[in-house]
């Protein structure tokens, strides 16, 4: 044990004494942090939650021009089957006009780098304060840019889900997805 180096009946020399105190203090700090870790880690998503973190969606029933909402990781995801006009509109916008510049192609590319412009998949959460924008259901207002319109504070998104007007700072997020066949898409 470390104590055998300490002469008994005396204070020991000051450097050794300081070293001992610093070492013990450091040890206590390490112990406290290590003990805190399981308590903090405990709040992370559990294994069963993570196991449900990807879903598979059959997009075959979605007609051109229509969109659906699916629930993924507790949040809505919009899948829109875009019309050729939608695609053209999205591709023709100049990047310099966009508050959050991003090409349409980059937003319709799956994780295997395959581009499918007819399918737009975005997380349906407004990047302003987390409301769900309107525009997915038939008859919903789609805003001035024919995409989505957030009823909370009036943010407007275009046919590529990019922010065009209003307080939202960024485009609707594109989740990681992969078309496992022409009609089956795995999100997450």
């Amino acid at each position: 044990m470390a104590s055998s180096t300490i002469p008994s009946g005396a204070h020991g020399d000051p450097t050794r004494r300081d070293f001992l105190m610093v070492a013990t203090g450091a040890m206590a700090a390490v112990g406290a942090i290590a003990t805190a870790w399981p308590f903090i880690n405990n709040l992370n998503p559990a294994a069963d939650t993570l196991a449900l973190s990807s879903i598979e969606v059959n997009v075959k029933p979605i007609a051109v021009g229509q969109a659906i909402t699916v629930k993924w990781r507790g949040r809505p995801v919009f899948i829109r089957h875009r019309t050729p006009e939608d695609i053209k509109e999205a591709e023709s916008v100049k990047l310099s006009e966009l508050p959050d510049p991003e090409t349409d192609t980059a937003r319709v590319t799956d994780s295997a780098k395959k581009v499918r412009p007819e399918w737009l998949i975005v997380v349906g959460v407004c990047t302003h304060l987390g409301c769900v924008p309107l525009g997915t259901k038939q008859g919903d207002p789609r805003g001035e840019y024919n995409g989505w319109f957030c009823p909370c504070h009036g943010s407007q998104y275009d046919t590529s889900g990019r922010i065009r007007k209003g307080p939202a700072p960024a485009n609707l997020a594109v989740p990681s997805y992969l078309f496992t066949s022409d009609t089956l898409v795995k999100i997450g």
Partner: protein, 411 residues
Amino acid sequence: MASSHGAPPVFNNKVIAWIDHRLPIFSYVEKEYHTFPTPRNFNYFWNFGAIATVMLVLMIATGVVLATNYTPHVTMAFDSVERIMRDVPSGWLIRYMHMTGASFFFAAVYVHIFRGLYYGSYKAPRELLWILGVVILLLMMATAFMGYVLPWGQMSFWGATVITNLFSAIPVVGDSIVTWLWGGFAVDNPTLNRFFALHYLLPFIIVAVVALHVVALHIHGSNNPLGIDPKGPQDTVPFHPYYTMKDGFGVICFLIVYAIFVFFYPNALGEPVNYVPANPLVTPNEIVPEWYLLPFYAILRAVPDKLGGVLCMFGAIAVLFVVPWLDTSRVRSCTFRPIYKWFVFLLVADVIMLGICGAHPPEGWYVPLSRIGTIYYFFHFIILLPVLGKIERPLPLPPSIADAVLKKKVA
């Protein structure tokens, strides 16, 4: 508060001085945990108060975190605990810390109580300090019992059934009380829900009583192995660094044993049958409480009468409240009580024997043993303690703590 030396502390840090002028928390800590004059002759038994405090904090910390993932519903409680064990990050560790922690908290408190009994820490002027301690013990038992119900295993359910049924022994209103405790006609979802709520509440009440226990302790200061009062500065040392460091060492040693159980034998102190989900239609072969309640359980079963058993069991704790007045001896510490000392050891042996009896079905040898054990338990407190104090001749007390310490060093 305790007599402190010299002027109130002066803080160089301006922020600390500003706060302390308005809310003297720093002065308080300084006075009660730094300069606080403490007898210089503590042995390692005096570590167990600090150890018990650490365990209390650990139990509350792990418990709060467990509660974030637990579901108090009869159809989901068992599975939610297993989800903590399997899927929740670090969940198994937090749960085993909590489960094993209950045992180690009780172990520390039992050693602490033994220390109090052996060295006469309950004697004047520390009677209230002792009584607050017994209140803490009672609250701990209630908390532990309700906590044990939460995983909703077989032993949870049947333990709850048996213990709540104790109250049916009360004449006239007993059955109504039991129905009231259950919130139904058997231990069921309402029972689980209220036990969860109370299991979360009681620890904070324990914290409050512990605070009072500490305040009471600091009025007259700690007792010590010699049981004589300090007569001046030569008999005491400041609490910090002398006892902070000694307590720190003791706490770490205790935690080593605790860690060995948490990590290598987490289920050694538990009952396997509690890993079977509760089934209200099938009683397990044997219903036994956790080890720390076994002696009281043995007393309950030793008496061949329902009401009598219940009264004896509660009496076993109730008698502790009046120990300060049952003890008639002039000296505190058993170090100077040549006869009574052996009876304290005998009492410990008796309680251990009762514990062993409580762990086994009441058949054969266990029946007479538990009866003898129960009789001695009450004999010890009610007859021996007052009588022996009158007739025993204590050994001569040393003139002062410093005197005794220095003499020992020379020898």
